[in-house]
Symmetry: C2
Subunit: 235 residues, 2 copies
């Protein structure tokens, strides 16, 4: 389905679900007093009053809900393919490009090309032309956990003021250098520590973290085994 | 061990191992005629003749060999910790920084801060402020497989003229959106296709690919499960 058709469907569905959620919000706040759910729905009714598009944490929740309903009707819309290309420059320096992807039933080539320099520091034979590959992995992981937390909090009407995280991963070079058959070649462990500024108790913030992990594509790509098929292009 | 001490040790060991490899190269080319190993060592003797530092594919193989010998003496030098920090900007936009790391027995804060904008395209609620997290993962994977191939080829004296790769990963949003308990939340599969320009047969190029996979930290981090611990910072 072309993305313009998707947008028109979203427009039609928007109003219908906006009204449904406003009704749900009113009902919930009367039934359940003084807990997270009530706060969540009170916030939502305030946002609902402001515009047709419900924006929480900068996320268009109206569009999110509409997308979910569209996917329930047409599951194939949820199939996405993300891409990158890479060209070796010299030594440990190579360069990756990201531009096109496939999703919501259509190819998308609308974005300008995003270019990333990849290298190693001198202690690992490089010249610091860019961050190294395992650091790029941490960049992706940090972004994914954050977006997953923000989007799912928004869908539940949870307002967040600020989020920061620090990540660290342990790597034993015995694996990369082929010096040990038992040392893991990849990260041994990655630790992520979040600071969340929101009117939530520590337990409620911990729930946000669990939600971030559960729904983060990069977290799940790292924490679980994912098949990676590497082959020679046909000449 | 301070990194300056490591560099002085590398200097002393360089000459010794440079001579050892030159001797090995001469012996191999007489014993084994006309196969990859001979070509490999012939190339190496030509490089050996040129300078004290043996550079193949832009990789300082002399430094690589020295590093390996140092690690055999002091295994803890191989323990590295890579880091990133992330700050949410708004909506699906957040920003990651990479600067310091730990390795070879010391903290390293020498690099300028590298900043990465992370966002989603509009169809996924974003505004294209940067590549999205799962694309950053492909960037890291592309760089790691390339560097792993180049470095291990260099260590074996295999000259490569050019390397390019194309990557594609399949993502089903049912997982991210919480619409299905059975859909994987992470990538379902990632495919990498390499073009290698070198005086090698297709079988020899396939060996390079197997070597890249075996020794790539990001490949192994994705293909195998890696523990990721996410917690709330102490306030």
């Amino acid at each position: 389905m072309a993305q313009r058709a998707v947008s028109r469907r979203l427009g039609k569905i928007n109003w219908m679900f906006f009204r449904l959620r406003a009704v749900k919000a009113a009902l919930y706040s009367r039934k359940i007093g003084g807990n997270l759910l009530t706060n969540r729905w009170k916030n939502e009714r305030r946002c609902v009053a402001m515009s047709n598009n419900q924006i929480i944490n900068g996320v268009n929740v109206t569009q999110l809900v509409s997308t979910i309903e569209l996917i329930k009707e047409k599951p194939e819309i949820a199939d996405f393919k993300f891409r990158a290309t890479n060209k070796w420059v010299g030594g440990t320096h190579n360069r990756a490009n990201v531009k096109d992807f496939y999703g919501a039933g259509a190819q998308d080539d609308s974005r300008a090309t995003m270019t990333f320099e990849i290298d190693e520091p001198p202690v690992l034979l490089g010249e610091n032309h860019g961050a190294n590959p395992v650091e790029y992995l941490l960049v992706g992981l940090s972004g994914c956990l954050t977006t997953s937390m923000i989007a799912h909090a928004a869908a539940r009407g949870i307002q967040i003021r600020a989020v920061e995280s620090r990540l660290e991963g342990d790597l034993d070079l015995h694996g990369f250098l082929g010096l040990s058959e038992s040392a893991p070649v990849g990260y041994k462990e990655i630790r992520v520590s979040f600071k969340i500024d929101a009117d939530l108790s520590p337990e409620e913030k911990q729930e946000l973290i669990e939600m971030a992990k559960k729904y983060s594509p990069v977290f799940n790509t790292v924490a679980k085994p994912v098949p990676v098929k590497v082959s020679l292009a046909k000449e």
